[in-house]
């Protein structure tokens, strides 16, 4: 099957301080079709970032397997772009060179990669900032660079690890709207990890709720809200509010 397939995935850590094995993720199975936007939601410490790190190939699973377009994931690769909570931009590279980094690694000549990078810098609304360094930008602008850097590399899957958690509330809402706009325009496949219920419902087509540690799939909720989505329209929308309430209940009450 095309897209992402996660089968019976588990991760157990050895906690050297506690002196015992701790299960972070247990028996998670999940499928994401091409062009889908799926949010993974769970309380802090439920293993959702561990799950994302396994999909990214940063850490190996203890058990189970992950397939992307039928290929088994064994390590990090350019088919899966990651947007980090800490942005993880390269401070010694300008916006243009950060966004063009993936293309440079593939040997795309300077002129071509600058052209593509400029296209994605425009897509995230940062025209005129091409020659700035990351430390000269606000947090919100830095994360726009983080998103453009991944999109410019045309990954099959975009992994986002609480990408808007470290910007202020107003900026976060703007970035969420921008992300839905970009998704509607380009339809990248997105796995978005968050602990913010409203963010998950606002952005995704499906919200998968994990249980507290160890993380298991509690339930998946389809979000059939019309697009384009804006906070102005949804904040008082009864369907949106109903979905938020339902998902919040899943997060807060223990599984039967």
């Amino acid at each position: 099957m095309d897209g992402l397939v996660i089968r019976d995935l588990s991760k157990t850590y050895y906690d050297i301080y506690a002196g015992e094995h701790v299960a972070a993720v247990e028996g998670v199975s999940l499928e994401i079709g091409v062009g889908e936007f799926v949010a993974i939601l769970g309380p802090s410490g439920c293993g959702k970032t561990t799950l994302l790190n396994m999909v990214a190939g940063f850490i190996p699973p203890t058990h189970g397997e992950i397939l992307l377009n039928g290929r088994r994931i064994l390590g990090p690769g350019p088919d899966r772009g990651v947007v980090f909570q800490s942005f993880a931009l390269f401070p010694w590279k300008t916006v243009l060179d950060n966004v063009g980094f993936g293309l440079k690694m593939r040997g795309v000549p300077r002129e071509e990669r600058d052209r593509v990078a400029r296209e994605y810098i425009a897509l995230v609304g940062l025209e005129g900032f091409e020659h700035r360094y990351p430390h000269e930008l606000s947090g919100g602008m830095q994360q726009r660079v983080g998103v453009a850097r991944v999109l410019a590399n045309h990954p099959d899957l975009m992994l986002m690890d609480e990408p808007f958690a470290s910007v202020d509330a107003q900026t976060r809402m703007t970035l969420q709207e921008e992300l839905t706009r970009i998704w509607e325009a380009r339809q990248p496949t997105i796995l978005f990890v968050t602990h913010d219920v409203e963010e998950a419902v606002f952005l995704a087509n499906r919200v998968t709720v994990l249980t507290p540690r160890p993380g298991r799939v509690r339930e998946t909720v389809a979000v059939d809200l019309p697009r384009p989505r804006t906070w102005r329209h949804l904040i008082e929308d009864p369907v949106f509010k109903g979905l938020v309430a339902r998902v919040l209940a899943l997060v807060r009450t223990p599984a039967a």
Partner: protein, 267 residues
């Protein structure tokens, strides 16, 4: 005609090599005053003008320029060799656990044998030669380079490496594009310390090996009892280091780590 003059005026007090002249004006004034009070005999405690006179005469005879060139060349060769060996070794130790386990005990052991402690055996092996002096300088420069390069690569956030991996960077590209630039604040610190220690080791080596150089000039001056030449040597050492700092190290920092926001800009 007006603008170049204005630019020159603006440049003059603001230039990093001259910006720090203020405190020295005061220091020289106090020095001159103490000398003029004749608390100590002039032969033991000469004044600024005496030093300036000897400076003029040694420059005129060509001794000072030659010695200065010898010392600076020795330091440059030693420092370059120390960097070429020290930085890659530091990167290897910082990134490769097996290399760390192998090299670390050796490095700690040999670091304890100070540069000067090598001189007796070096004099037997290589005699009073450039080889002996170069060995001492490389030996001194290399440890701060290794330690700081190793520390530097370990301070690069893991997520930056992961970001590069997810953008398709190979291990060598990650080294060149992420780890080395990320380690640069520490590498520059290592260079600064290494050059500083190397400079001192060189003067010590010149005093003992003694064929030419600023250190030789100062030690040789004891035979003629020329305190004024010793003071001149000390001043030359200080000024030269100041020039290296303001002319090489600071500009290198400004266009790299300060420009990138890795360190706060110096006040």
């Amino acid at each position: 005609m007006k603008r170049p003059v204005l630019r020159a005026l603006r440049w003059f007090p603001g230039h990093p090599a001259l910006a720090g002249a203020g405190p020295f004006v005061l220091l020289v004034a106090v020095w001159a005053l103490v000398v003029e009070l004749e608390i100590y005999p002039r032969a033991f405690f000469p004044g600024p003008l005496d030093v300036l006179r000897v400076f003029g005469s040694l420059v005129y005879k060509g001794i000072l320029p030659t010695y200065l060139q010898d010392s600076v060349t020795r330091l440059a060769v030693g420092a370059a060799a120390g960097m070429v060996v020290g930085i890659p070794l530091g990167l290897l130790i910082g990134l490769h656990p097996a290399s760390y386990r192998f090299f670390w005990p050796l490095i700690i052991f040999f670091q304890a044998i100070g540069d000067i402690a090598w001189l007796p055996i070096l004099l037997i092996w290589f005699g009073f030669t450039l080889t002996t002096m170069t060995f001492v300088i490389v030996y001194t420069v290399i440890f701060p380079m290794i330690f700081n390069a190793a520390l530097g690569v370990r301070t690069v956030p893991v997520e930056m490496v992961r970001a590069a991996q997810s953008l398709g960077a190979s291990r060598w590209r990650i080294l060149a594009e992420v780890l080395i630039p990320g380690a640069l604040p520490n590498i520059i610190t290592g260079l600064r310390n290494g050059l500083g220690y190397g400079w001192r080791a060189l003067i010590a080596a010149e005093i003992i090996v003694g064929t030419s150089g600023i250190g030789f000039m100062m030690f040789d001056a004891r035979r003629s009892g020329s305190v004024v030449e010793m003071i001149l040597g000390m001043i030359v050492l200080g000024i030269l280091w100041y020039v290296v700092d303001a002319g090489i190290l600071r500009p290198a920092e400004r266009v790299t780590i300060e420009r990138w926001g890795l360190v706060r800009q110096a006040p």
